[in-house]
Symmetry: C2
């Protein structure tokens, strides 16, 4: 059965397409474009999700929301066992931590920076703390990613899928030199044939 | 073996104490107090977590961070099977969604509001959109919580543990009348003997 992905350009939903390609799952994309001036998601997304969020998937009559839940769902139901470390393993816990970190801890300074950017001079007094927080979160990920460039254990995992977006944001925020492992990690992600296929189907994705 | 909880007052770590009490696990608390003027976590927390975050737990020589990962870890390793719906069930997916929602989607407008509050008049132009977003997220949770006042299925689950904090925030932000089910849900949480014990051990928690 075909999975439907409500996909917003230049967003966290790109990694859902990547995972679907890795799993060899059949899917179709319903595309949405950000507003050219505000960069906000278009109101049409509210038909897929009352809060107008992406990604959302539909599968077998069920809607699944929240990136972390979607990634875990796809791994569990669509042949992605190898992407979720076994429950008894230490890497299982690392995987859970990074899957949460990617969408919660990391996004606080990112969203703050976006908001402060909109306020311009009015938020200038907060910018040093926001920048310090963003740098601290990038440094934390850089310090903890394995020497093998994987977030949880020896192999690719759901943690890597989830963390690919924060790592890409770190590069876009010019942390490449300070976070060379994250930069190499992003390079390896983009070299995956599955990522290339997802990029092809999902359309333009930032500069990549 | 005793679990150590690094616990910040008036924070998301309160629900970790609650879950530990529900599971009958042995734990000890390392308490931290927010700075009275800035309301920020004290720098001592950085000894437990490089990013100065709470909660953090230590168990059998392992540190676990991120609320969602900690809750899942405790359910999986400390007798909380009944708190995590079986992987094959529909409620499993609902549980994953709410565990993510509680810390990611919901917290974007909450953190925005805190930041805008600090900026005062300078951020006044953004406040209507922030308030609208916060109201939309509260309404979404209100609409979807079950008539039985559980977020995932018939019984208490990890979703309820995670969502207790956003629901408490909704009440503190005066959404009680607009979100009567969330208000009753919080009431039921606070009536749990385990929650009362956690409140006793954790110390003052907002007005409750």
């Amino acid at each position: 059965m075909t999975i439907t992905v409500h996909h917003l350009n230049n967003s966290r939903s790109q990694r859902i397409l990547w995972l679907l390609e890795e799993l060899g799952a059949e899917y179709e994309i319903v595309p949405y474009q950000r507003d050219a001036s505000t960069n906000l998601a278009p109101p049409e997304l509210k038909q897929a999700h009352p809060l107008g969020k992406s990604p959302v998937i539909e599968d077998e009559g069920r809607t699944v929301t929240e990136s972390g839940a979607i990634v875990q769902y796809l791994c569990e139901r669509h042949g992605g066992d190898s992407w979720l470390p076994a429950k008894e393993s230490d890497t299982h816990i690392s995987c859970l931590e990074w899957m949460q970190f990617a969408e919660s801890s990391f996004f606080v300074p990112v969203m703050m920076k976006i908001m402060a950017g909109r306020l311009g001079e009015d938020a200038a007094s907060m910018m040093p703390r926001i920048d310090e927080q963003l740098a601290a979160h990038v440094a934390y990920a850089e310090e903890r990613i394995g020497e093998n460039l994987r977030f949880a254990g020896d192999d690719w995992s759901a943690a890597d899928v989830m963390m690919s977006f924060p790592a890409q944001i770190a590069l876009m925020q010019n942390f490449g030199e300070k976070a060379p492992k994250l930069a190499r990690f992003v390079g390896e992600v983009h070299d995956r044939p599955a990522w290339k296929r997802a990029r092809e189907r999902g359309g333009p994705y930032f500069g990549w």
